[in-house]
Symmetry: C2
């Protein structure tokens, strides 16, 4: 098994639901305070903003903590901890948030990535569909699902607990290189034991959409105004999704970084989920350089909710600046 | 009229509801897109987090834009615009958000500042009570209202549209120097014409609480765990509110800065709302130096919602780092 396969194996293992569930779930709700009848819930995890005439609703899927040790493969733990502490984040584990954009173009209702999907009760993740409903959108209305890449936290929400389609009326749009990589039965058979479940998982999640899956080349539009751009490295066909209407635009960078406080701040940090970490770093720098120079609005799957804002070039890396929250859309 | 009175007059004029209402309300909801039945609302503006065994619910009161010209008195407009652009904020006007903390200590339910209060329909502000209800809390349950200072956007929510108490069962706790300043009839009579409405407004807002207003010295507790600290300058008795339980703490800095992207980033910027701008700057530096050194959690009335996070010392100023959002409390 060469270096790339080791990485691939690690990423696949970590992306497997059963293993992720074993990680400590720090985001669990603690017991209610002895404070009378006030409910202690959070407001629903959705946030709307406009991109031209489009409405983008950021849908939170929850968050979970994984061990920090060995998460960054090419830096000592202390250096990783120092980077997180700079952003006032915990240093005893790594808390990964998940947020997917839903774009209403007026003609299409496009969900980009689907989150962790059906989970056992009390799970801190798998909230995309619930937050979509809280935002007043029936999943049956979704016309199009765009998948940035085939890791479990992006595709598992394609299906309900019984394996049927969570978005029964949607066409699914994917990058053709990503599809080829994960759906090549030969590749799956030749893959190291540890990553075979990830291949099987991909096959299972897309199965109920058979006949309405559209593979596109990098640079192609899923629907007018929503384009898949090559952002290869994290996976062989990992795509950023460019959303534009009129003179306004936003780039959803998917997993170009995990938390920006970690490997946008330090683009040289190679994390275990990046299948080709060297390519991932080069892509990260290329895209963020452009986004920062153009002051373009960005969103990212692992950005802190509401997960949309801007990137400022700072030193040898980038600082994520959250967009301003507003009570009005 | 000396320099201090000019400042005072400007601040009072700007804090008068009628004048603020005349400012452009950029946060108004635009017309719905032609996109089918999806509602276009935002999730309710509240966010919960813990401070020890206390639950703090940040309650958004909305936001409004005011003209940027002359808002900072001691710097050219271009320099102010450059500072805002660094944080990707608009430079054609100044958008002020409002967020008040509600602290459930288990024994007391304490609202700190009350927002802009009753407003005409369609106003972008005055949302504290509605967001409190959305968070499951009946205003009648509030046991204590702490007021940081007597500017309209902090005290107008004390009363309903008919002038009666919005928190009918609450004791109101205020700093004694702040009370003395605004309630001194001689001072009101001697004040420049432009600021008399602010004196009258303060009298009206507190009137329905007569007999249950407690004036305290700087450093005194409103209830166990919630203490008013001197943070004078913005107004003569402007108070920060320290919230602590066990080993955890948070400092609500009220108007120690307006938006932190503006005058925490540039503590030397003197804004028109600061009654004694020199004292306000000194207080700002003193408190933020301590908060940054201790890595203490902070909240601020004009911080971007959810308005709680941390301050990092950076160059000659401070950078606000929002706290991590979580679906679980």
């Amino acid at each position: 098994m060469d270096r790339r396969h080791v990485m691939l194996g690690a990423a696949a293992a970590l992306a497997t639901p059963a293993l992720l569930r074993a990680a400590p779930a720090v985001a669990q709700a603690p017991a209610a305070a002895a404070s009378g009848p006030a409910p202690l819930g959070q407001a629903p995890g959705f946030f709307r903003h406009r991109v031209g005439g489009f409405t983008v609703t950021m849908l939170n899927d929850g968050s979970r903590a994984i061990p920090l040790a060995n998460f960054v493969r090419n830096a000592p733990l202390e250096e990783v901890q120092r980077t997180l502490a700079e952003s006032f984040l915990p240093t005893d584990s790594f808390r990964i948030p998940f947020t997917a954009p839903l774009v209403d173009t007026g003609r299409h209702l496009v969900l980009i990535d689907t989150g962790n999907g059906a989970q056992p009760a009390g799970s801190p993740v798998g909230l995309v569909a619930a937050n979509m409903r809280a935002a007043g959108v029936d999943p049956a209305r979704v016309t199009t699902v765009v998948i940035s890449h085939f890791h479990g936290d992006h595709i598992n929400g394609l299906t309900l607990a019984d394996g049927s389609a969570a978005y029964p009326n949607a066409e699914v749009v994917v990058n053709e290189a990503e599809w080829r990589f994960w759906m090549d039965e030969g590749a799956a058979a030749r893959a190291p034991e540890a990553m075979r479940p990830a291949f099987a998982n991909a096959a299972n999640r897309f199965r109920p959409y058979q006949g309405r899956i559209r593979q596109v080349a990098a640079g192609a539009e899923a629907v007018p105004g929503i384009r898949l751009d090559a952002a290869y490295g994290h996976t062989p066909g990992h795509s950023a999704v460019h959303i534009a209407d009129g003179t306004e635009q936003m780039l959803y960078v998917a997993d170009l970084t995990n938390r920006p406080e970690l490997n946008a701040r330090r683009p040289d940090f190679h994390i275990v989920f990046d299948m080709d970490a060297t390519a991932a770093e080069a892509t990260r720098r290329r895209i963020f350089d452009r986004v920062a120079a153009e002051r373009m609005r960005v969103a990212g799957f692992h950005f802190p909710f509401p997960a949309a804002g801007f990137m400022a070039k700072e030193g040898n890396g980038y600082r994520f600046v959250p967009g301003d929250w507003s009570a009005a859309v």
